[in-house]
Structures are given as structure tokens and as C-alpha cells.
């Protein structure tokens, strides 16, 4: 396969070529999907350097395991799962290393989200895409890694509860509780951000 062929080939053809040892085909796959893999790593790790390292590691592992890829999913989905597992391993290491704060422990045992008042105003209404992303980014950063991970696996990876449970080695009930907490907390944080902006505008004389 020539370089020109690589850029015009579909993923399946590139994977087949790469499985036969064509590094240039694999390079093309990296070029096509590196942002998506990095984005997933960044969403989970919340740290640019770690996300770059882990996505790089995922690509290396992808090359090593390429012959096992049988097309049961798209290539990018397959590789995304590799980076998710690497991120989960890394996050578990972080968890072992840091001392749990009381707040984090409360999050784990639950209860807080059961009393949260329902957010009735859509906190994202009227926001520009970039501003919305910034606020979500900020809000995601305030979740614990368990809650953020469940949210990412469900909302971005579109995993079912039972698959998330298997990936995170927990029960389906735990997945449901964590997802519920994460969503409600995110809604509350976004609402706070929206209220904060509204207050600033009022103080400055409004628009």
C-alpha cells in the first residue's frame, strides 16, 4: 500500500495492512484517531501530560495486540477501550496513593444526591458551545474519579450498566448510584456556574 493509498483507505483496509506489519498504515490510523483517544484519556485523567502518555501507551499496546482485533467493533472503539483500561489502572494507582478526604468518602457512601433539589432551569440553555464545554470541563473536574469515570463510560462510551460494572469491577447497583450522583452533581455545578455568571452581570449593571 502506498502512502497515497493509506490516506484514501478506510480503517478496515488500514487495519488489515497494519496486521501484516505495515507501519505506515498504522501511522495513518494514529493520525486519524489520535484526537479521539487523547480526548477520552483527558476526560478521565484531567491532566494533559498524563493523557498524552496514556494515549501513547494505548497506541503501542494497540500495535502489539492488533492481530487480535477481529473487527467486532470499529477500530477506534477498540482502541478507546484500551485507553480507558489504561486510565482506570492509573486512576486506581492514584487512589491508593492519596488519602481519602472526608468529602470523597461521603460521595462514595452516597446520600447527598438524594436530597439535592431538582435543577429546574436548563443550565446549558443559551450557551455557546465553547462556553458550555468550558463549564462542563470545570464541573467534571470537581467530581471524584469514580463518578467521573462512570459518567464518561455511560455518556461518551455509551456502555450499558452491566458493561460499566464489569469494567469498573463493581456491582450494577453501584454503577447506578454513582451515575445518578454524577449527573445530579453535574447539574448542580452547572446551575451554580450559571447563577454565578448571572450575579456577575447583575453586579456590573447587566446587559
Amino acid at each position: 500500500m502506498t502512502e497515497k493509498d493509506h490516506s484514501s483507505a478506510d480503517d478496515r483496509a488500514l487495519v488489515r495492512a497494519a496486521q501484516q506489519g505495515d507501519m505506515r498504515a498504522f501511522e495513518e490510523l494514529v493520525a486519524r484517531h489520535r484526537d479521539k483517544i487523547y480526548a477520552r484519556a483527558y476526560s478521565m485523567m484531567r491532566n494533559e501530560e498524563e493523557a498524552i502518555d496514556l494515549s501513547q501507551e494505548a497506541w503501542v499496546k494497540g500495535w502489539q495486540r492488533l492481530k487480535q482485533f477481529q473487527g467486532e467493533s470499529s477500530f477506534s472503539t477498540w482502541l478507546t477501550r484500551i485507553v480507558i483500561n489504561l486510565c482506570l489502572d492509573q486512576l486506581r494507582k492514584h487512589k491508593r496513593q492519596r488519602t481519602e478526604s472526608i468529602e470523597a468518602m461521603n460521595e462514595e457512601t452516597g446520600g447527598v444526591e438524594r436530597q439535592m433539589p431538582v435543577v429546574t432551569v436548563n443550565p446549558t440553555a443559551g450557551l455557546e458551545r465553547a462556553e458550555l464545554r468550558r463549564r462542563i470541563d470545570q464541573a467534571l473536574g470537581q467530581l471524584s474519579y469514580e463518578h467521573r469515570t462512570v459518567l464518561i463510560l455511560h455518556e461518551f462510551e455509551e456502555m450499558e450498566y452491566k458493561t460499566i460494572a464489569k469494567t469498573m469491577s463493581c456491582s450494577i447497583g453501584t454503577v447506578m448510584s454513582r451515575l445518578f450522583y454524577a449527573r445530579r452533581k453535574l447539574a448542580a455545578l452547572l446551575a451554580d456556574l450559571k447563577r454565578g455568571t448571572g450575579d456577575e452581570r447583575a453586579a456590573s449593571g447587566g446587559e
Binding site: E27, Y42, V118
Partner: protein
Amino acid sequence: MMDYDRQLKLQAYLDGELSEAEAREMGNWLARDREAVALHTELRNTRQALTGFEVGIELPESREFFWSKIEREIERQAPPEPARHSWLAGWRRLLVPAGAIAALALAALVVTKSGSEGTPLEASLADPGAFTYRDDSARTTLVWLSYPAENELADSEPSSKVP
């Protein structure tokens, strides 16, 4: 106020995780309970807010630089080439009259020494689609073959899972 289990069930309803019967029951409840409707709306808004969040996030390194690191690491972690090739090439080169005995003597030496522990795998009928992975610390060699061929996999009966 809704009990917690009911709230989780509402979430599961939103996520399509309920059975048909349970989803029908939840739908009926939603039609008459304002608190449930409010919570359902909040959960739905949050989900919509997250849609497409990762679109546009870019890896902050150039294509060439990022690839060069991956390529380097792949090469670093690649298993060593089997010794057979260099041995065979050397044997062929020495197949000239002056070197014939030296080559065969070398071959004799290799035969006597090749029973030593930890010698690498040498494939004499190689599967062009195969790759070899060696873990020295675990003393394990994995040879991943391309057998059965892809089309055979596609044609296989679901029940005949193991070749």
C-alpha cells in the same frame, strides 16, 4: 418525595435499561407525577449538555512528534529477531570451498549448543501473518498465528467455537 430506589429506576428508564414492563410502568407514573417529571427533565438536560463534549478536543502535539514517540516505543518493545536468520545467512556465505569446513564445523557447534536453555524460538514454517511475543521474566513465548483465516472465521458455525 420520591424514594431513592424510585429515583434510580427513573434514571434507568431514561437510559433504556428497564424491561418493557418496567418501562411501561415508569412511563405511566411519569404521566401523573410532577416531581418525577422534574427529575427526569433535569437528568435529560444533563445528558444533552454532555453530548459532543469531547468533539474538538485535540492532542496538543504535532502528528510527527507524537508518532515518532509511538514508533520508538514499538521498536523498543519489539521481540528480538530469531537467531536462525543470521545463522543461515552466515552459513550460506561460507559455502565456498575454502570456507565449507568452517561453516559445517560452525553448524556442528550450533547443534551441540542449541539445547541450552532460553534460546529464542525459530520458526521454520512461518505463518506470514504471525507475530511472536517473548516475556523473558515469565519465560513464556507467545506465537500468535493468523490461522484460521478471516474468511474461515466468518463462515464458521457459531457452535464450533474452538478449532
